[in-house]
């Protein structure tokens, strides 16, 4: 089989040996296309690497001038973020506090609900139920985030205001809750995959000891799939931190150092959107501050993604 004669990059070997005449011409032409295709496919696969390099390059070069003006200490410890004011302050923790609050609320919804749903789908539901539920979850995942933002601002917030009198029109609670449901399908399906990867033998051993389904699920399956489940929640956290439109619409655009969910506050992503909506002069410090904020966001999500990726790979190799 030709596969056994591939070179280091997986390319097929060069032209076929001489035969002569039209046949040789055909074989040469065919060999040319064979090699040409292989190079072209490698080039296409490398695009993803160039995208990553491009992201890192842009974030570094565009935010480098910013860090020449603002010291890293101010950037990380100041609690004011007012880049367009006369007396500009650049404490990114102002934006991070809102990001963490909203993501925390989202996870408080998505972790227990996602775990319960995953256990139900993997250990309790009949295959027919699972087959109908999964498409429903996919549809839920496919709803555009602007629509969720609209829903959080004009449906969930007024609804919550009837229970919580002091709730501001822009608050972090409503977008947090909506975002929790938004990432639920993702966390549930990744953790369910991890649970279904647990070998049947472990469950059967549990049943042989007289365990109930619930016990098998919580004492056998969940611990065995723990790295995969953790990966699901870390990847979900990364999504919550990077989610943009829901918070930009419903959490307000006022930088505010607070962890109080009833107040409105701009997250990192909402700040980027807000600045992009205005006309930013290219090269101004406000323009650069967008990239500095983006850099923080990128580093946070990169960290989560790498941990999640590592954990996911581990559970796949375990069984």
């Amino acid at each position: 089989m030709p596969q056994s004669r591939t070179t280091t990059l997986g390319f097929p070997p060069g032209p076929a040996p001489l035969i002569g005449g039209a046949t040789e011409q055909f074989l040469r032409r065919r060999a040319f296309w064979n090699r040409f295709a292989a190079y072209w496919l490698l080039a296409a696969a490398s695009v993803s690497v160039f995208v990553t390099i491009g992201i890192v390059y842009v974030l570094f070069t565009e935010s480098a001038p910013f860090f020449r003006v603002v010291s890293l200490k101010d950037f990380l410890t100041d609690t004011q973020w007012t880049p367009v004011f006369e007396n500009a302050r650049y404490g990114v923790m102002t934006l991070v506090s809102a990001t963490v609050t909203v993501a925390g609320i989202a996870l408080a919804v998505a972790i227990p609900a996602g775990l319960a749903l995953a256990i139900y789908l993997s250990e309790y539901a009949r295959p027919a139920v699972r087959e109908t539920v999964k498409p429903l979850l996919e549809l839920l995942e496919g709803v555009p985030t602007v629509v969720y933002g609209f829903f959080a601002l004009l449906f969930v917030t007024p609804l919550l205001q009837t229970f919580i009198p002091g709730l501001a029109g822009f608050n972090m609670l409503a977008p947090g809750l909506v975002m929790g449901i938004m990432i639920l399908p993702y966390t549930a399906s990744v953790s369910e995959d991890a649970m279904r990867a647990v070998p049947m033998g472990l469950r059967e051993a549990g049943y042989a000891l007289g365990y109930s389904r619930f016990r098998v699920a919580t004492r056998v399956v969940v611990p065995a799939a723990l790295s995969g489940i953790t990966a699901a929640f870390i990847l979900g956290m990364s999504r919550a931190v990077g989610e943009t439109m829901v918070v930009a619409i419903a959490a307000g655009q006022n930088p505010n150092f607070t962890f109080n969910p009833t107040e409105g506050a701009a997250t990192i992503t909402a700040y980027i959107v807000q600045m992009a909506m205005g006309d930013l002069p290219h090269g101004s410090i406000a323009y650069q501050s967008v990239f500095a904020a983006g850099m923080v966001l990128f580093l946070i999500t990169l960290l989560f993604n790498l941990i999640g990726f590592y954990l996911r790979r581990r559970f796949r190799e375990a069984y």
Binding site: P2, A38, A44, V58, L302
Partner: protein, 314 residues
């Protein structure tokens, strides 16, 4: 247990209690799972009902679909947003599908096990987790200012194409992986070389799976607002880009690629951000159109996958 409880000893009675308790927790757990599902389904319904009921007055007015945005909410429409979305999607599909399919083929059929392949694989899964707004910053720094493409349809199409690349790559790989090895061996046995095998046998067999991934990816791109806002797309576009086809030779023109534009999610965002409630009606109506488009596309993808699975089973 049909044994009467008065003849049971203390251990047996506690055993019975244990069985009953176990059954209770099982029922409880299953109900919690079903409850979560019900809440999720109720939310999807609530979103739909809320949008339709709030947007109804504009939704049933045909002028809404043929008017440009306006300062007067009752005259504003989504024609420029719909045309913008269609043209941006055209660019996105033309760039992302060939690139992602080629990358998927390389990773499944060609890539040897070495560090380069590892880097590409880790990259693809990492890119899938990069927030969409970061792609927007990439486009702002590189495409808009670096390459001087400006805030155009081409820039938006490019950035959305890069954004959905991982989605289509993963779908392509899964589709190719599910093709049995026999098919390849049969092709090789007939004397086909690698490229002939891949392009004539493997790729056609994997087509439905790839199509599913492409549809899901494009549905996601249609609903994405963040990266397009970041590149500085305008919200008030009271004209249409130049038409892609014309009556005089060469019949096709590409001027529209460099035209300013708006898309539906941005139009929605703009209207929902205004304080006047009348604009919120427009936002809701736009949301319905957007939802219908993405739900139809996702539904189509689910249907194709369902048919495919039926076909594979038989």
């Amino acid at each position: 247990m049909s044994v009467e409880s008065h003849v049971l000893g203390p251990e047996q009675r506690s055993f019975q209690a244990l069985v009953a308790a176990n059954r209770r927790t099982d029922v409880l757990m299953a109900s919690v799972g079903i409850l979560v599902l019900a809440v999720a389904a109720a939310l999807l319904t609530a979103v739909m009902v809320d949008l339709i009921s709030s947007g109804w007055p504009r939704l049933v007015n045909p002028d809404f679909y043929t008017s440009f945005p306006s300062r007067k909410p009752e005259q504003a429409g989504i024609i420029s947003a719909m045309v913008g979305t269609s043209l941006v999607m055209l660019v996105t599909a033309f760039i992302s599908i060939p690139l992602a399919v080629a990358a998927g083929i390389y990773l499944e059929e060609y890539a040897p096990k070495n560090w380069l392949t590892d880097i590409i694989e880790i990259n693809v899964s990492n890119l899938a987790g990069v927030p969409s707004i970061i792609y927007g910053l990439l486009a702002l720094g590189l495409f808009v200012y670096g390459f001087g493409l400006g805030e155009t349809i081409l820039t938006a199409g490019l950035v959305l194409a890069l954004l959905i690349l991982p989605v289509i790559i993963v779908a392509t790989r899964e589709a190719i992986r599910s093709i049995p090895k026999d098919l390849r061996e049969a092709a090789y046995g007939l004397g086909a070389d690698k490229w002939q095998t891949v392009s004539h046998y493997v790729l056609p067999a994997a087509r439905p799976g790839i199509l599913t991934g492409a549809i899901v990816g494009l549905a996601r791109a249609i609903g994405e607002a963040a990266p397009v806002i970041t590149i500085g797309a305008l919200t008030f576009i009271a004209f249409l880009p130049p038409a892609p086809v014309q009556a005089t030779p060469p019949f096709i023109n590409f001027d529209w690629l460099m035209s300013p534009f708006t898309v539906m999610p941005i139009q929605l965002f703009n209207w929902v951000s205004r304080p006047q409630a009348a604009f919120h009606i427009n936002a809701a109506a736009t949301g319905v159109v957007l939802m219908v488009m993405t739900l139809l596309m996702n539904g189509l993808a689910i249907y194709i996958r369902f048919k495919l699975r039926q076909h594979q089973r038989s």
